[in-house]
């Protein structure tokens, strides 16, 4: 099981950006039901996936989406909502605010960027050419381990048939364009789409990589929850050329000037700033009717602005789609022609809508005229009304005079009369004929003003909203432009990658045929060894064998694996051809097996679940791993080698964090200092002496440890020295060197030191490595009892032959199977041991014995039993079957029993003065 390293060590050290938080996922179900669920989302740029979980500290994810080829977009009208388009899947998420959304979008983009950059650098590094033979053409091997399992294969989005654009919407957009053309502005917007089409066609023929020239933007239907439209390819070109939002702004300006010149009849052309409209409007002295017209004009023009922005947005989205499209289009001319046909159809549509719009404009002008007539009418009626007012006033005047006269005559009944008179006057007033509709406007001037105010306020509010929206669209547009640029980059890098892969493939194929022909030659030779002229050159066979030994997996380092362990099969070969053949056959089988395993669904799922766990663990910046049943299950499946360093560190921190806090930051260094001071004193220290002796005996099968000056020997010395002074009770115990060495395979010096502390002081029971080894001895007795309980037949057999299990099992427990089992297995045992502690050692010891049981039972003498047990590792083929026994078949396995027994035996040993 070779490691597929998805995270290169340097990448791990880089500062990673990560983001997490609760978001709502909006899903449209098949029946049109919209669900909105709250999940915990986590994103970490060590992996190109966005994961979501039920809760923030979950191990298992609910789902994930690949970001390595995804596009992101949002609609500014929907607060906090954004979309991720990946593999023809759209994920709609909703954050609490627009600000949060922006943060997420930024994080998403950076993660995507990183993911394709690593993919790129990976593919670059794969271009190392390892020549297969001296004479042959150089063959490029794609390193098998480089096909990064967590990274999905490149997307192959299916082209979606463009859905018909709703005609009204289309017309609306066209309207915008018409306005643009009509306002005889200086900026050119050519509408000769045919010409553009020709141009695009040419461009397309020239190169498929110039994706932005693809005239056929295909819309992913689901991606658009707003009106769809077609925009002239010309502007597509323009926008891609300068990657700016200039074009839409120009359109806005033109729109503005056009409505201004027609609506306000003032020639303030080219007032660029949107917000200035308000001021201009309110300062103008207009009749209410004109006011209304103008306001409605303004609104419609704003709508046009919005439309043009929509169009811009749409364009961006379309280009996204175009990008996707292009990715898979390749050199397919057929498809290209289809696009062009489609485009032509679009052009016709454009023409049609153009004329429709011209008609519309005509209509609008007519309407305008009519409205002006109405205004005239209205003005006339106002005149009439004023006339009537004047008559009324005269009437009142006359009546007052009469009253005065009557006052003089009869002053006694003044009040009564005046009441009557006023009633009369009222009657007179109501008798005055006024044009219908204005009758209600008794206080017409006041009313007018109030209306204007109300309208103004409404408009101001409206305009404010629209401005916000426009601002939103503008930022969105900027975002989408950036998005396009980035996607473009990705596409290009993918294309180069594809090309190089194709080239590699050809090389490999050529190489394959070459090799094949040579093997055939060899076969022919053996078939007819007597035939003259077919004698092989000497050495050909040997050369062929050497070649085949150099598989892509081992092209770099033939002798050791990724951790620096020497490979067993790198031993010298016998001269016997049959043996060699068997050897190679086995090797071939192993390689095929390993490849199959790495491509198996189970393996992928395993990596995925680890990725899912680690992402959430990283983003929540928990240094120590929390204990949870899910995590326990996960760790029992083993930690992927690529993640082991991280996971071990987290688990170790989980155990020692309190100690670390207590002892302070520079504790390890201070221990090292102490050690060096003591050494300079020259005082003899048995433990230090023993450490020095043991350094070269540690992991002799690993190239990082096998020579006195190997890379890790010095680190190992430091760790053991520091530990000796940290824990004077244990000091140094043979066996600890192996634990520390294993730690150093994945961790740095300081972490290895804490690893050792975790093992000795937290994971193993007390007294395991102390001068009396009492804990370890007691555990041997516990093991004996457990064997008697779980494997009674074996126990009886061993008893009858007087075999002492401790001869073997003691070092299983002291060193956690290091150097007992193959390293790929004991490292996985270490994963579980680090998380669960000493108990798993019992599980694995019993599992090992259980697997060996049939063989041991066949042994008739003590010698054969010894032989059988000392070769226990030969019965263990893989971790999975061992773990199956250890964690399932041996259940129930209560900690309490072990605990009780251990205490009993420790007490017993103390009493008897402890001797085996």
């Amino acid at each position: 099981m070779s490691a597929t390293s998805t995270i290169s060590p340097p990448a791990r050290e880089l500062k990673t950006t990560s983001i997490c938080g609760y978001l709502h996922r909006v899903e449209v179900r098949s029946i049109g039901l919209v669900t909105r669920r709250r999940y915990w989302f986590a994103l970490c740029d060590t992996t190109p996936y966005l994961y979501w979980y039920k809760e923030s500290d979950d191990v298992k994810c609910i789902g994930r989406v690949s970001l390595s080829g995804a596009a992101f977009t949002y609609d500014p009208r929907e607060k906090g909502r954004f979309e991720i388009h990946s593999n023809n899947e759209v994920i709609v998420l909703e954050s609490a605010s627009d600000k949060q959304r922006n943060e997420w979008m930024k994080a998403l983009q950076s993660t995507r960027k990183r993911s394709w950059k690593t993919a790129k650098s990976k593919s670059d590094s794969n271009l190392d050419i390892s020549s297969l033979t001296g004479r042959n053409s150089s063959a490029v091997f794609e390193d098998a381990s480089s096909s990064p399992s967590p990274v999905p294969p490149p997307r192959s989005p299916k082209p979606k048939k463009r859905t018909a654009v709703p005609p009204e919407v289309d017309a609306e957009i066209q309207n915008v364009e018409n306005v643009v053309v009509e306002s005889e502005d200086v900026i050119e917007v050519p509408t000769e789409t045919e010409e553009t089409d020709e141009k695009t066609q040419k461009e397309n023929d020239r190169s498929t990589t110039e994706w932005y020239l693809n005239p056929n933007g295909q819309l992913n239907e689901r991606s658009l929850q707003m009106p769809k439209s077609i925009e002239s390819p010309e502007s597509v070109l323009k926008r891609f050329a300068d990657h700016s939002i200039e074009a839409p702004i120009r359109a806005i300006r033109r729109n503005l000037s056009s409505w201004k010149s027609s609506g306000s009849r003032q020639n303030t052309v080219d007032e660029p700033v949107l917000s200035s409209r308000k001021g201009t409007v309110s300062s103008e002295d207009l009749t209410p009717e004109e006011k209304v017209i103008e306001l409605s004009d303004k609104v419609s023009s704003l709508e046009e602005v919005v439309e043009s922005l929509r169009a811009a947005l749409l364009l961006s989205q379309r280009s996204n789609e175009a990008l996707k499209k292009l990715e898979e289009m390749g050199e397919n001319k057929e498809e290209m022609r289809e696009y062009l046909l489609e485009k032509e159809r679009q052009v016709t549509e454009l023409h049609l809508s153009n004329s429709t719009n011209a008609r519309r404009v005509q209509d609008l002008e007519d309407q305008n005229l009519k409205l002006e007539d109405t205004i005239n009418d209205l003005q006339q009626s106002v005149e009439a009304f004023r006339e009537s007012l004047r008559t009324k006033e005269e009437l009142i005047l006359r009546m007052c005079e009469e009253e005065n006269r009557e006052d003089v005559l009869t002053s006694g009944v003044v009040s009564e009369k005046s009441v009557n008179l006023s009633a009369d006057a009222n009657g007179l007033v109501s008798d005055v004929e006024v044009p219908e509709g204005i009758l209600v406007d008794v206080t017409s001037l006041d009313f007018e003003e109030a209306t204007r105010r109300v309208l103004d306020e409404e408009n101001v509010k409206d305009i404010g909203e629209l401005q916000d929206l426009v601002e939103g669209y503008r930022t969105q547009n900027q975002f989408l432009n950036a998005e396009i640029v980035e996607l473009h980059n990705i596409i290009q890098s993918l294309e180069t990658r594809e090309k190089s892969l194709i080239r590699q493939n050809f090389d490999l194929e050529a190489c394959y045929y070459q090799l094949k022909s040579r093997y055939l030659m060899v076969l022919n030779h053996f078939k007819s060894p007597t035939k003259p002229g077919k004698i092989m050159e000497p050495g050909v066979l040997k050369e062929l064998l050497e070649e085949s030994a150099r598989t892509p997996r081992e092209s770099q380092q033939n002798l050791t694996d990724q951790l620096g362990f020497y490979k067993k099969d790198a031993m010298g070969m016998s001269d016997d051809l049959l043996d060699t053949a068997t050897f190679y056959m086995k090797k071939a089988e192993d390689i095929v097996e390993a490849t199959k395993l790495e491509q198996s669904e189970e393996y992928m799922k395993w990596l995925q679940s680890w990725d899912s766990f680690l992402v959430n663990n990283t983003v929540s910046s928990k240094i120590a791993i929390m204990s949870s049943p899910d995590l326990k299950t996960l760790i029992r499946t083993g930690v992927p080698p690529a993640y082991r360093g991280r996971v071990w560190k987290s688990i170790v921190t989980h155990w020692v964090k309190d100690k670390q806090a207590e002892l302070g930051n520079g504790y390890y260094q201070s221990m090292l200092k102490k050690a060096s001071v003591k050494k300079q004193d020259g005082s003899y220290d048995a433990a230090i002496k023993q450490i020095d002796l043991d350094l070269s005996r540690t992991l002799p099968t690993n190239k990082n440890f096998d020579e006195p000056d190997s890379a890790n020997i010095e680190k190992l010395r430091n760790v053991l020295y520091a530990f000796r002074y940290h824990n004077s009770h244990v000091g140094y115990c043979q066996g600890l060197n192996r634990l520390a060495a294993i730690a150093l395979l994945y961790l740095d010096e300081q972490d290895a030191f804490w690893f050792l502390i975790a093992c000795v002081e937290h994971l193993q029971p007390e007294g395991y490595y102390t001068s009396s080894l009492i804990g370890a001895v007691a555990d041997q007795k516990v093991l004996r009892d457990l064997v008697a309980e779980k494997l009674p037949k074996l126990a009886a057999h061993l008893r009858s032959l007087e075999v002492d299990l401790s001869l073997f099992a003691l070092c299983w427990f002291l060193t956690c199977f290091v150097d007992v089992l193959p390293h790929s297995i004991y490292l996985t045992i270490f994963d579980a041991f680090l998380y669960e502690g000493n108990k798993v050692l019992f599980r694995f010891a019993l599992a090992l014995l259980k697997i060996c049981e049939p063989q041991v039972l066949q042994c008739k003498t003590i010698g054969t039993v010894h032989q059988c047990l000392s070769k226990a590792q030969e019965h263990i083929t893989d971790f999975k079957s061992l773990a199956q026994v250890a964690f399932n078949e041996l259940n129930p396995f209560p900690q309490k029993t072990i605990e009780t027994k251990r205490q009993l035996y420790v007490a017993q040993l103390k009493d008897t003065g402890h001797c085996m």
Binding site: Q690, P700, C733, L773, E802, S806
Partner: protein, 148 residues
Amino acid sequence: VCLDDATIKFEIWDTAGQERYHSLAPMYYRGAQAAIVVYDITNQESFQKAKNWVKELQRQASPNIVMALAGNKADVANKRTVEYEEANAYAEDNALLFMETSAKTSMNVNDIFMAIAKKLPIGPAHGEPTGTVDMNQPQQQQKGSCCK
């Protein structure tokens, strides 16, 4: 090891040399048929410890045990502090096989196992494996040096 017509299989235990493992040693030599006690000829202290081991084995191991004394690091004889004669005399006094060996150059390594094999009583189960315990001394530098 092939000896005349008999094949003798050695089953070798290499114990941890550290003092704290001493108490576990009986487990290893209890049923052993032979033992090699190794010391370092450049280190007088290791010779003294070897003598202690011999005493312990004489006292506690099986009475028929075949014991050999090996003075290792013969390749650096110029640094010797334990004289050949001294060790040889001690071995003769205690009826031990004695050889100076070198794990580095494999000098006498096979020979000492051959010598032990010759001295082993041919048991009733002729040709069956026997147990040997190799007590590596703490001063020993190469791990399992004598058993390769």
